[in-house]
Amino acid sequence: MSLDIRVPTGVLFVILGAILAMYGLVTGWTSPEMYTRSLGININLWWGLVLGLFGAAMLLWARWEWRRTRSGASCPSATKPATSHDESYR
């Protein structure tokens, strides 16, 4: 496999989550009135945590998959010849 998309996805969401959560933490203190529109909930903080958890889950999934294919055969799609006609009926 050329690139495991789980890794950039995980990294992006961890970073986004961190940014939002920190921003939420700071503004929750300095200007809590901006959260009246989100029904009084510090949505930046909470959703930032959700994003961070999601990103972490993605990275864990990527690591699990990497471990799994490393212990077994090498990555199947990298070595598979793409043009055999019989293979298409697998």
Partner: protein, 567 residues
């Protein structure tokens, strides 16, 4: 009017997203060694990635903005586009049609038509698809520039050029793989970006039951133009008994046959934009599972894209207007449902995320169109008719060139869309003219071996003419020759145009096939037609619940349940 101001953190989030999509493009550049790599991702993509890309490419500007607008205008009946339309079609294409698309080793949908029928059928499809997809891409670009650019603080032209350049760059570098991987990223962004907005709006409306109460008021107050019984906005099938009892102006038969069958199957089973993503899968099993995997989130998308529109109209009516901005012609500008929700509920920070989600959805739709275009152009038009027999590297170069001029043409189409307000309706119309007959061609091609090339071509032409004829003889839209019948709404008219186009093509293809000689011997048709193809062996490594058949049963059962719950 709409008070949306961006803070530094919002721009930071947008910049971060841009960095990542471009970074993925750059990272994939070195893997683009052959034309198969560039146009088909080397047929090496895992099923779950293809599945998410499948649905993400389909989810473009028209879908996100349009579905929310429809949610406001029609209520939960809009879900029919998903639960009645998309899901059965996706299940069908995965189980029954992917074996032929993938097994034939066709590199595109028009190429399948060439293998199964002949060159002229391929040409008909290739040219009409190329034009349609450029316009579709242009409309995506136009809506992006029109809606997002002002919010971000740039003008229309700058917004157009910047977003087009980003998509251009990552596809130029990494081809279909770049488009697919970014579509996965975009999928998660769309879900995680819109979900908080929906949750906040729903909480504010008093949960589902609170929303239903507001929607009852929407129906009975006649705020959208006419009065309807309460519950119209929160029921999917109940109001479909007659065109008078629902704002869509359709009845259940036209809805089921027109939308549920012809238009949906026509799109999901023959539109190369989505089929391309399944063709890139790493095996037959993965290709069949791609639309099925996509069907699961697709089933839940009404909560993400339709519900905000319903919340918006609910709040608009119960707060005596002021939630949704006004439109000069119809009184309410439904297209502003999503921006209105953002303005009302979303603080800085989350706003950056939601805007990025919106941008991501527009980009994924555009990328889908661009990769489909550059593949059809290079293989089905350029290689087939303009410059056959050149080296693979030459076609790879052509693919990159096609990406550039494809986007340039889309930009031109965007300006056409900007100038002519009804271009979007026109595109819907063209979809019906082109996709509806094509479905008949594919069904007969894949399941009836007696279908011939002449028959298919004649059927396609007849079907398209039938669509044009139907449109020119009926109201409310068209009627250029006469008005033999007046439909209660444009939507109903569209459905029936599709039904007629399909029917005429179906019958026409059968008749003309029987009148002409089958030029292809059975050996050539092996793998292209049901009766001449060995049954697909299930992948023994898959657990029983992950098999295509099991996934299909599960998603259909869940969809039926949803239809019943929201009856």
């Amino acid at each position: 009017m709409l008070d949306l101001k961006l803070g530094l953190v919002d721009y930071l989030i947008l910049a971060l997203y841009t960095l990542f999509v471009l970074g993925i493009g750059f990272a994939l550049k070195r893997f683009m060694r052959t034309s198969t790599d560039f146009f088909l991702s080397g047929r090496a993509v895992p099923a779950w990635v293809c599945g998410l890309a499948f649905i993400s490419a389909n989810l473009g500007a028209q879908e996100v903005i349009g579905m929310a607008a429809s949610g406001a205008k029609y209520g939960i009946a809009t879900s029919h586009f998903y639960w009645l339309g998309a899901i059965p079609a996706m299940v069908f294409v995965g189980i029954f049609m992917m074996p032929f698309y993938y097994g034939s080793r066709a590199r595109s949908v028009p190429e399948y038509l060439k293998l199964r029928f002949d060159e002229k059928t391929r040409a008909f499809n290739a040219f009409s698809f190329a034009v349609m997809t450029i316009f579709s891409s242009g409309i995506s670009m136009h809506m992006l520039a029109k809606i997002i650019a002002p919010i971000v603080g740039v003008n229309y032209h700058v917004g157009l050029v910047i977003s087009a350049s980003i998509v251009l760059l990552y596809i130029f570098l990494g081809g279909l793989t770049s488009a697919i991987y970014n579509e996965v990223l975009q999928f998660f962004l769309i879900v995680l970006g819109f979900l908080p907005v929906v949750l906040l709006g729903l909480a504010d409306a008093g949960g589902w039951s609170g929303l239903v109460q507001k929607l009852d008021l929407v129906a009975t107050s006649g705020a959208t133009g006419r009065q309807f019984p309460p519950g119209t906005w929160s029921s999917t099938w109940g109001p479909m008994a007659s065109p008078q009892t629902n704002p869509m102006g359709v009845e259940w038969f036209g809805l089921s046959m027109g939308l549920g069958f012809v238009l949906s199957f026509g799109y999901w089973c023959t539109d190369f934009l989505v089929v391309q993503r399944a063709m890139a899968a790493e095996s037959m099993s993965a290709a069949r599972r791609t639309p099925l995997i996509a069907a699961f989130p697709k089933m839940l998308f009404p909560a993400l894209v339709i519900l905000p529109g319903m919340i918006a109209i609910g709040q608009h009516v119960t707060s005596q207007g002021g939630f949704l901005p006004a439109d000069d012609q119809t009184g309410i500008d439904y297209n502003m449902a999503i921006p209105a929700m953002l303005a009302r509920y979303v603080p800085t920070g989350l706003l950056g995320l939601a805007l990025t989600a919106l941008l991501a959805s527009f980009m994924s739709g555009m990328a889908g169109n661009v990769t489909a275009f550059n593949t059809v152009w290079t293989y089905d038009i350029y290689q087939s008719y303009l410059a056959p027999g050149r080296s693979d590297q030459h076609y790879l170069w052509m693919g990159r060139a096609a990406t550039v001029f494809g986007i340039a043409l889309s930009g031109a189409a965007a300006y056409v869309a900007r100038y002519y307000n009804n271009i979007m309706d026109m595109l819907q119309l063209v979809f019906g003219f082109v996709n509806a007959p094509l479905l008949a061609t594919f069904l007969l091609g894949m399941f009836w071996r007696r279908a011939t090339g002449h028959g298919a071509f004649a059927g396609l032409v007849a079907g398209t003419l039938a669509a044009a004829l139907h449109q020119s003889l009926t109201a409310p839209k068209g009627g250029w020759l006469a008005t033999l019948h007046s439909y209660p709404s444009e939507m109903a008219q569209n459905f029936w145009t599709a039904i007629f186009a399909f029917g005429v093509c179906f019958v026409g293809t059968i008749v003309f096939s029987l009148l002409t000689v089958q030029r292809k011997p059975d050996e050539e048709l092996r793998g292209l037609v049901y009766s001449l193809t060995p049954r697909v062996q299930e992948d023994p490594a898959l657990a029983w619940y992950a098999r295509p058949a099991s996934l299909a049963v599960l998603v259909m059962a869940a969809t039926v349940a949803l239809n019943i719950i929201f009856w």
